[in-house]
């Protein structure tokens, strides 16, 4: 039998607490139709990760106004520009957040909005380029006070 002293027992206990908390911290189970939104936007094609910088706070104290900035790497000329960027949140009552529509006149594919997040969840941005290619980026936001219902 392995003898466990007091110190080891505490360490073990701490480990279990951490394990028990882990699924909560990353509760990324989609609770709505986010996948359907994405499928509709991408037409079933698989977006490539990259080209997008999605700026969101890691921890949002107030889910009622969470600042979101999205920047897509693109020259934004008449031949090559970002057409649309769709934002979905997989833990809100409705997955859709916003669809941003850019044009070559935008100059830069960058926009900021403020969004509501009901709970800790993943926020995904998917960009559709003028040539039809797709890029995506995802961020997890921990929400202290939810921003829907309430």
């Amino acid at each position: 039998m392995v003898a466990i002293n007091r110190r080891q027992a505490f360490a073990l206990g701490g480990g279990f607490v951490a394990l028990a908390l882990m699924p909560m911290a990353a509760d990324a189970e989609p609770s709505n139709d986010a996948a359907a939104w994405i499928k509709k936007f991408t037409d079933g094609k698989e977006p490539v990760k990259g080209k997008i910088a999605l700026d969101l706070p890691e921890i949002a104290e107030n889910g009622n106004t969470v600042p979101l900035s999205v920047t897509v790497d693109s020259p934004m000329t008449a031949d090559a520009y970002v057409k649309e960027v769709m934002i979905v949140a997989d833990g809100n009552p409705n997955a859709g957040v916003a669809t941003l529509m850019f044009s070559p006149l935008s100059g830069k594919a960058e926009a900021s909005i403020r969004i509501r997040l009901a709970q800790t969840q993943n926020v995904t941005a998917i960009a559709k380029m003028s040539d039809g290619s797709l890029f995506s980026e995802q961020k997890t936001v921990k929400v202290t006070i939810g921003g829907c219902g309430g």
Binding site: N94, L105, R114, R116
Partner: protein, 108 residues
């Protein structure tokens, strides 16, 4: 709601310059998820579309869902090639449209 939308952009820009446009409009953005004191669902009432055009050409637009915060703040960019007028439009669920205009000149 009758408040004028607040728009911030430079008065003038050099040709080819990319400017930043900030807009804020007062609106409750009722999500349709909340319940009132009697337990009845408050009907959804949001701005569902924002559009900005410059001299009649689209610059930026967005489709908004109930997950947008009250008093929606939208910030985007525009490339200025000529002087002209920005037109902004916010469309409400009930069909009402809030509009605004801003002029921009070219730097001499």
């Amino acid at each position: 709601m009758a408040d004028r939308p607040r728009i911030k952009l430079p008065k003038e820009a050099s040709k080819g310059e990319i400017i930043q446009v900030k807009t804020l409009v007062s609106h409750v953005m009722e999500s349709g998820q909340r319940k009132d004191a009697q337990g009845k669902t408050v009907p959804r009432k949001i701005i569902n579309r924002f559009a900005c055009e410059f001299n009649g050409k689209p610059v930026f637009a967005c489709a908004l869902e109930p997950a947008i915060s009250a008093n929606p703040y939208i910030q985007f960019n525009a490339r200025i090639e000529e002087e002209g007028t920005f037109k902004f439009a916010w469309t409400d669920d009930d069909g009402a449209v809030i509009t605004a205009e801003e002029k921009i000149a070219l730097k001499a």
